[in-house]
């Protein structure tokens, strides 16, 4: 068999045979993987940097109306100003607090309902159709009702987030319980596990990865909801900052708020992933990512 002197791995020879030889990734796997990783990190920055560069050029050269599309440098100096006055941190703290409390209530009630309906065909028959119908109701449309019921304090916004999150977590948890291999539960029973012991040692750990996927989704959703709610009601929070800046024609402050929301969502998602890794040391590092 003839071989070729080419750098790349697989080459057609003249005799009608294929000659397989080690490629660059096979000869120096460690160095190759390192270069590959640096490259991947680098190209992750290409998209946002080009985006902001184009924006900057378009804005300063007058292709875009500066009143509505201020240059990123203008937005940056506004951000510095808002941080100096404390306005940005305060708004973020208020919204984060609402989102987290709502998220916590939603996750706990969603898990409980998911486990109940996942384990009990009777409860499933009784409640699943009703809850499924409620799932599709746009929750923001409930805000006026919640204001009527809970007044105009923190409660209606937190309840709104909790309701939204509840459905995500409920569905994921119920499906996870129902798709759990029967042999897990049988193994528990054959070792003498009672219902509560089975819950603690078997059901909850078995469904934890899917629960965390739903919490990651919910964390993002809770921020969407709180920003939306703050648009329409109340006088504080990051959503209010965005909406209020827009109505005062302070577009640069609005962009600061929008970017801050994006960063907040990113950070919250990372925190959930980190907590998930702490609670599930048995799972491969990116288990949640693989499911998503």
């Amino acid at each position: 068999m003839t071989t070729t002197s080419q750098e790349s791995g697989n080459e057609q020879s003249t005799e009608g045979h294929l000659s397989f030889r080690p490629g660059p990734g096979d000869r120096q796997p460690a160095a190759y993987a390192r270069r590959r990783r640096s490259f991947e990190v680098a190209i992750a920055f290409v998209a946002p940097i080009s985006f902001f560069a184009l924006w900057q050029i378009a804005s300063t050269s007058g292709w875009l109306d500066e009143r509505f599309f201020p240059a990123p440098t203008t937005v940056w100096s506004t951000a510095v100003e808002l941080v100096r006055t404390g306005e940005l941190q305060e708004s973020l703290a208020i919204s984060t607090r609402r989102a987290l409390i709502g998220l916590a209530f939603g996750v706990v009630s969603g898990c409980a309902m998911g486990i109940l309906l996942g384990l009990s065909p009777l409860w499933r028959a009784a409640l699943e159709p009703f809850l499924s119908a409620c799932y599709t109701v746009p929750k923001l449309a409930l805000l006026p009702l919640l204001l009527l019921i809970f007044g105009i304090g923190e409660a209606p916004k937190i309840v709104l987030i909790a309701i939204t999150v509840f459905f995500f977590v409920w569905i994921a948890t119920m499906e996870a319980v129902m798709s759990m291999p029967e042999s897990y539960r049988e193994a528990g029973r054959s070792l003498g596990a009672g219902p509560w012991q089975a819950m603690r040692h078997i059901v909850i750990p078995a469904i934890l990865p899917q629960i965390f996927v739903s919490i990651r989704l919910s964390a993002g959703v809770s921020i969407l909801v709180i920003v939306g709610a703050e648009f329409v009601q109340g006088g504080d929070g990051i959503g209010y900052l965005i909406w209020h800046s827009w109505s005062l024609l302070r577009a640069e402050a609005m962009y600061v708020g929008i970017v801050a929301v994006a960063l907040l969502g990113f950070v919250l998602g990372e925190v959930v992933k980190w907590v998930g890794r702490l609670l599930m040391p048995w799972a491969p590092r990116d288990a949640g990512r693989a499911v998503m």
Partner: protein, 256 residues
């Protein structure tokens, strides 16, 4: 229940109901398993031998007849080793083995000691803190066996425990089980298997079952002395005995 019997089945049957039709899976079956006996159940696929085992474990109830099993604290004094998917990926090897003891609220230090000693007997001492995901199939079944034995059940139930392993590994684990069981003071075992060789090597008695609905076709004493050694497999007597079992079973498997 006669003393000296760990399990007694009298005209036991099981029917599974599904939306389309009823499946008569098993019976009627009459059966006695004596204390300290190693009984192997062989039969064609779907003959209800796993169902019989699960009834003894208390996971399935009989549709007719009566099944009596020795109990401790109000539940069958039996532990089960499943074919797969039974050790918990979220628990370390040690925590898996200790689970039955934890569930019985055995004090932690004592539970750890027992779990470690069973891990040592099954060759798992170097893997106590490993999670099952990093273990081979053979190691996982060793964990399943150690976990079943740790709470010291009177009866050990094994549902094709080595069927998912490759042929060489299966032989290694059969040899290990033989050694562990013979050193362990003759616990009662009911083992369901497809392998006549496995049944002949391990069992005191072999029950041959028919096609569905499974009934007992034959009840065969295994004529080899204890303690047995793995080398028994290569003897002419062993080969002849396995052939004899195959004759009993062949027609059932063909018509299955």
């Amino acid at each position: 229940m006669r003393s000296g019997n760990a399990v007694e089945a009298r005209a036991v049957e099981r029917v599974f109901h599904s939306r389309k039709r009823d499946i008569h899976a098993l019976g009627p079956v009459d059966l006695d398993v004596r204390d300290g006996e190693f009984v192997c159940v062989v039969g064609p696929s779907g003959c209800g031998k796993s169902t019989l085992l699960r009834m003894i474990a208390g996971l399935v109830t009989p549709s007719a007849g009566e099944l009596r099993v020795r109990v401790k604290d109000g539940r069958p004094d039996a532990a089960m080793v499943f074919q797969d998917y039974s050790i918990f990926p979220w628990k370390t090897v040690l925590a898996n083995i200790r689970l039955g003891l934890d569930l019985a609220k055995v004090e932690r230090r004592e539970a750890d000691r027992l779990a470690r000693s069973w891990a040592a007997k099954t060759g798992l001492s170097d893997f106590l803190d490993a999670y099952p995901a990093s273990l081979s199939g053979g190691m996982r079944q060793r964990v399943a066996i150690a976990r079943a034995l740790a709470p010291n059940p009177q009866i050990l139930l094994m549902d094709e425990p080595f069927a998912a392993l490759d042929a060489q590994l299966r032989q290694v684990l059969q040899d290990e089980l033989l050694e562990v069981w013979q050193a362990d003071g003759r616990r009662t075992v009911v083992l369901v298997t497809h392998s006549l060789e496995e049944a002949a090597l391990l069992g005191d008695r072999i029950l041959v079952m028919s096609n569905r609905p499974g009934r007992l076709l034959a009840d065969q004493e295994v004529p080899f002395e204890r303690p047995r050694r793995p080398e028994l497999r290569a003897t002419p007597e062993f080969v002849a005995f396995r052939e004899q079992l195959w004759h009993l079973l062949r027609d059932e498997v063909r018509s299955a």
